[in-house]
């Protein structure tokens, strides 16, 4: 079983690298955010696989926090228009 987990972790790593290549090819801002989201999902999956493969349950918490921050980062990405009025 742990063999499978390790190979799965490696493959998700490959996928992460592919997503990054896709990201670097995209000139448009929204595509970059989309690729970042994809990288986030991959990262969460890889962190989970490492938690099981290395038998470090603490990494499950880290994966959970990464998932939470993925949502935070999405908000930070899309809300960046300057404020027109001053108060």
């Amino acid at each position: 079983m742990s063999e499978l987990l390790l190979i799965a972790a490696m493959l998700v790593g490959f996928n992460l690298a592919l997503s990054l290549l896709a990201m670097l090819r995209q000139p448009a801002a929204s595509d970059r955010m989309l690729s970042a989201q994809l990288l986030g999902t991959n990262g969460v999956g890889l962190m989970l696989l490492l938690a099981f493969a290395q038998e470090q349950t603490g990494l499950i918490d880290t994966a959970l926090i990464l998932a939470l921050l993925a949502a935070v980062v999405v908000i930070a990405f899309t809300r960046r228009e300057p404020e027109p009025r001053h108060d």
Binding site: M47, L69, A71, I75, E83
Partner: protein, 318 residues
């Protein structure tokens, strides 16, 4: 076989980090650079996980990638509203060349030193000492034991550094204007995400005593809650006003110092907790440190003195 798969993963992660760093440093668009930097933080967290440093992975994800990314994105907004940055001409060739050679020389020296130290891995290690003394520290997580007991003085000064940075930011001027109220999607996301962030901050703080986690990660998670409330259009980002806000901002270093000094009333020296009380005192310090760290990070995210910083009675006139 199994070892090989992990080694390939390591090489992949290393290549990813290099690519991300180069792209982030040299991409044409600053927006792209910052997104790449946030992804760089994510991959770094994976590298920490591979090196069996889950505490650092958690801190990197929350602080190094999350809060620092949000700070940089907010700073990017300053560009558009503020003065246009003059596209400065590139450096002269002799500067580029000499700096490049110098840095390459430094890099090779450092690599040689690292490999040499690595080959003669015989120097004294503190790790064994930490494991031996862990039972006396009051907590079960060795990293928390180092941070809040064995080297508590460093952590106290670290909180002081954070406080100094906060004071610096506050002195430099007023906060950025609040973003306008958000649309329904963001409002909804913020509404369910903020309570989850608060609950997980509490969890990470509590779990830090015996597993990866602790005050810094918890504080950064709380701060993330404040930051998205701000992005959702909340003017005060969930911060209290005036007196209470100032009290929370200094509370972390204050309680830490107080406990450290109180420990001296016996025969002990500064920050040398009584053994039976260590666990409780560490938790007490960590609770206040978490609140302080969260408030400081949100305040520096605002980019300066918010209106609510003023004493309560002045706010009515402003």
């Amino acid at each position: 076989m199994s070892f090989d798969a992990l080694l390939i993963l390591d090489v992949l992660l290393a290549a990813l980090l290099l690519m991300l760093a180069i792209a982030a440093l040299h991409s044409h668009s600053m927006h792209q650079s910052i997104i790449l930097f946030i992804v760089f933080g994510l991959v770094t967290a994976l590298a920490w996980a591979r090196l069996k440093a889950p505490d650092v992975a958690l801190a990197e994800a929350t602080i190094g990638s999350g809060v620092a990314g949000a700070l940089l994105l907010a700073a990017l907004r300053d560009n558009r509203s503020g003065s246009a940055i003059t596209p400065s001409p590139g450096r002269p060739a002799w500067q580029v060349l000499s700096v490049t050679y110098l840095v390459i020389g430094l890099m090779l020296t450092a690599a040689w030193a690292f490999l040499d130290a690595h080959a003669n891995n015989s120097g004294p290690r503190l790790g064994g000492l930490v494991q031996a003394e862990l039972a006396n520290s009051g907590v079960g997580n060795p990293v928390t034991a180092v941070l809040l007991n064995f080297r508590a003085f460093d952590t106290l000064l670290e909180l002081a550094v954070l406080l100094a940075a906060l004071l610096g930011v506050l002195l430099l001027g007023p906060a950025r204007p609040a973003p306008r109220p958000a649309g329904p999607v963001v409002t909804q996301l913020v509404a369910w995400l903020t309570p989850l962030l608060i609950v997980s901050a509490g969890y990470v703080l509590w779990v830090g005593a015996h597993a990866p986690g602790g005050a810094f990660q918890a504080g950064a998670l709380l701060a993330a809650g404040g930051i998205i409330m701000r992005l959702g259009g909340s003017r005060y980002s969930g911060l209290p006003s005036g007196f209470w806000m100032r009290l929370i901002a200094v509370g972390g270093s204050g309680v830490f110092l107080f406990v450290g000094l109180a420990a001296m009333s016996g025969d002990a020296s500064l920050l040398q907790y009584p053994r039976d009380w260590a666990g409780t005192l560490i938790l007490l310090i960590e609770i206040f440190a978490t609140l302080s760290i969260a408030a400081s990070l949100v305040l520096v995210y605002l980019g300066g003195r918010p209106d609510a910083w003023a004493p309560d009675q002045e706010r009515g006139h402003a």
